[in-house]
Amino acid sequence: MTTNSAIRLEGEKTARQTLESAVVRFAGDSGDGMQLTGSQFTQATALAGNDLATFPDFPAEIRAPAGTTFGVSSFQINFGSRDIKTAGDTLDVLVAMNPAALKVELRNLKAGGLLVVDSGSFNERNLRKAGYDGNPLEDGSLAKYRLIEIDVSALTLEAVKATGLSNKEALRCKNMWTLGLIYWVYDRDRQATIDELKQKFAKRPELAEANIAALNAGHAFGETAEMPDGFGGFVIGRAPIAPGLYRTVSGGEALSWGLVAGARLAGLKLFMGSYPITPASPLLHVLSNLRQFGVTTFQAEDEIAAICSAIGASYAGALGVTSSSGPGVALKGEAIGLAITTELPLVIVNSQRAGPSTGLPTKTEQSDLYQAVYGRNGDAPLAVVASRSPADCFDTAIEAVRLATKYMTPVILLTDGYIANAAEPWLIPDVDAIEPFPVTFRTDPEGFHPFLRDPKTMARVWALPGTPGLMHRIGGLEKDHESGNISYDPTNHQRMTDARRNKIEGIANDIPLQTVEVGGTSGRMAVVGWGSTYGPINRAVENARQEGLDVAHIHLRHIWPLPRNLGDLLKGYEKVLVPEMNTGQLLTVLRSEYLVPAEGLNKVSGQPFRIAEIQAAIRARLQG
């Protein structure tokens, strides 16, 4: 070993190798700043013109003891010069800041992949905490990887010495050193990160200076140090992306902004009643900072109060929104029924997580579809839409607001933990160019009845308290089809039940016909998905088609009602495969609606699908 740089191999560097795409994972202790590292790398990668997708993976514990395997925090990014659909099945590069990170993440690294480790953290204490008997850096167990073993700790201390920081603070810059090195690996520009560090530490310039010094040192190390096999770095060209202004956006942000945009398009103020819960809280947090957009947020005492406050707000003329995850939405069931029967607009966002019960709060799943479509007492229909990706949250949120206000109905918007936390590049839309759908409140007392319906949409009139002359009473008991007064009349109950059902079914006429993402509109197999499985399904179907298989990808945004051509469309395929991160919930809906012999591909491990899993299933079922 040379002093300070623990590179084992020698030789001249080769030229940068051009790749189509790469998957990198930064993994370290919760305190190691891996999420920041990841998001900075994401930004630099976006600026370099790559397409990308990310997957932040937090520990369940707030701040697990240092060095433990359950305290490992990671950030994965897949980027390339072609279009990128998932955060990647397997890793090309793994950065492991400590033994625990290596222990947890190594199994995802490809043979021959680049493995960057901070050898400075591979001391006996850390090895033991990670559950290693020996030191993997020394026992040859990593032979099948390209190991870059560096004492990042020491090099960082060295790099930031000039700033006079304490050892503890100086070591906090390790992540920037590493980031600098990976910037070198992929030939990324450091300027945006430098700017951001300056802004972030505006009040403590010595910290900015230290972090920047570490970043630059890491990069310089890449430029100058010897690398295994003479490794000279990669280059990944620009992706063929639609031109325009881009940013990276997380599901939480896009969803919040979509709701704000939707409310504005409807001409309403937005009221958000919520109660914190993983992974739904980001929505509450983002919206809490948007007061200037006419947004009111209310942290209620529980989920029931949260939805009830939103119902009250809608009743008073705002757009009521409530947001939670599975267990919290379970508590809202009774109140959702009230919104259905009083026919008030309401958007209910469910950021799904692994269940049942408390389940695995930080892991992703799609197992609340039953709850969304069926989970209430009585015949209580509503509309359900689902987002497929972080950026798609913006559009689906607007669609949810449109349906809620146009049809005077609660709408459930399904997203999940993966979408809420992941980020992706987003072609920023021009909000002014979106067709508005302004609400009209009833003001004319002449002939007014609160349950008069629009003959086309079947939506009832919306008359706000405070309006002269329109005083009326509504409630959860069955209502007369006109006056809204309590009615025990059997015919009226049948009529209102039918009206509620037909109103929601009628939405099918107001949503786009189902299109096919990839493949033909008939054939041997359709793979039907919804939500965050979009990426892996899409890539898997594309791959399978390249293998010559006759398979198409259909992805649903509207879960209820379903697009009116969907039944016919599905009947055009010999087989229908429905991959879901649940035990087969959309499957039930499709089979019952269309009597198509659809089959499920079900994964309930808290982890997103891998492309390969879906591809294998397509292959197997087409052969089978």
Binding site: Q43, A46, L47, G49, A192, I241, P243, G244, L245, Y246, R247, V260, K269, L290, Q292, F293, G294, T296, F298, A300, E301, D302, I304, A305, C308, S309, A310, I311, G312, A313, S314, Y315, A316, G317, G320, E334, G337, L338, T342, L427, P429, V431, D432, P445, P450, P465, G466, P468, G469, L470, M471, H472, R473, I474, G475, G476, S483, G484, N485, I486
Partner: protein, 340 residues
């Protein structure tokens, strides 16, 4: 649906009555409360079109149907939360919540706690008949120990919650008590509640003639009323009785109240405690009085603090003042962007 012209002229109690037939049991105490409320609203110059009655489920909770105002009959226990949303979305509305002892203190106890604590500016009327009326007579959280009911054939074994003590424990800033039959007293209390800016909590003792008849006779029956009711008034001595010569004295050693008679055993008028409605400790002691002490009626506690929705509105205004343009396109473009 009622069309009431935005009238400048004074409305009468009748103008606050809806066209719906009142469907409580004949003789139910709710009728008298309904009348009091309708009369009070008229006297206070409230506007039907700016008034909302919100309720949960129960006999009491049918109240909104009988008012010609806006009304929302919601679900069991949740009226405080729905009222909160209404008030936050439109702070200009006059919002009244009507609830029963089960609705408010059994299933809805948590929402009530937080409504009171947050100090949302609504009038919360708790019709306390110490029983579940609508579901046919089960004991409630305010039923006295030993109450025999369909679900407690051997008698209930739970200490009842004292509504007023609960409201004080929740941090209530306006806490009052009256009774269905007190047709002069109740409107006075309602007026005070209406004028209070913040959450006004009013317990109204109400007779359920079917399932708990006479629960409050010990206080409200004419024959005993004078000796069994203590009408508190801010700044006035806490006196009661036919001859208004009985009163409350503080025993400072034991920190408790005792009933004394002025002119007896050397008790003088100066020994009698004077009601201070801003004193929470006194309010708590008054609330806790039980037979053979008189029941304390009136505004036990009133000590205003800023209402939640007003503070919230101010925060909104501050945010808007800071970024007056509220340009959504700009928001979407904040932070790092790049052009392809």
């Amino acid at each position: 649906m009622n069309v009431v012209a935005p009238a400048a002229e004074k409305l009468s109690a009748k103008d606050f009555a809806s066209d719906q037939e009142v469907r409580w049991c004949p003789g139910c105490g709710d009728y008298a409360i309904l009348k009091s409320v309708q009369r009070s609203l008229a006297d206070l110059g409230a506007r039907p079109d700016n008034t909302v009655f919100v309720s949960g489920i129960g006999c009491a909770a049918r109240f909104p149907y009988y008012m010609s105002t806006y009304g929302f009959h919601t679900i069991h226990g949740r009226a405080p939360a729905i009222a909160t949303g209404i008030k936050l979305a439109n702070p200009d509305l006059d919002v009244w919540v009507v609830s029963g002892d089960g609705d408010a203190l059994s299933i809805g106890g948590n929402h009530l706690l937080h409504l009171v604590r947050r100090n949302i500016n609504v009038q919360f009327l708790l019709f306390n008949n110490e029983i579940y009326g609508l579901t046919k007579g089960q004991y409630s959280p305010t039923s006295r120990i030993g109450t025999r009911s369909p679900s407690t054939p051997q008698g209930s074994i739970e200490a009842p919650v004292t509504a007023i003590q609960f409201a004080l424990g929740a941090g209530g800033r306006f806490v009052a008590r009256s009774a269905d039959t007190l047709q002069k007293h109740l409107p006075d209390v309602l007026r005070r509640a209406y004028e209070h800016k913040g959450c006004s909590f009013v317990e109204i003792l109400q007779n359920c003639i079917v399932y708990n008849d006479g629960a409050f006779d010990g206080y409200t029956d004419r024959s005993v009323a004078a000796d069994a009711q203590l009408h508190v008034e801010h700044g006035k001595p806490l006196l009661f009785g036919k001859d208004r010569n009985r009163g409350l004295r503080l025993d400072p050693k034991n920190l408790c109240l005792e009933v004394v008679t002025v002119g007896e055993n050397g008790v003088s008028a100066a020994d009698i405690l004077v009601h201070d409605e801003t004193n929470r400790v006194l309010a708590g002691m008054l609330a806790a009085m039980e037979t053979p002490m008189p029941v304390a009626l009136g505004v036990l506690y009133c000590n205003p603090a800023p209402a939640y929705e007003i503070e919230l509105r101010e925060q909104g205004e501050a945010a808007r003042a800071k970024s007056p343009s509220a340009d959504l396109n700009a928001l979407l473009r904040k932070g790092h962007t790049w052009t392809v």
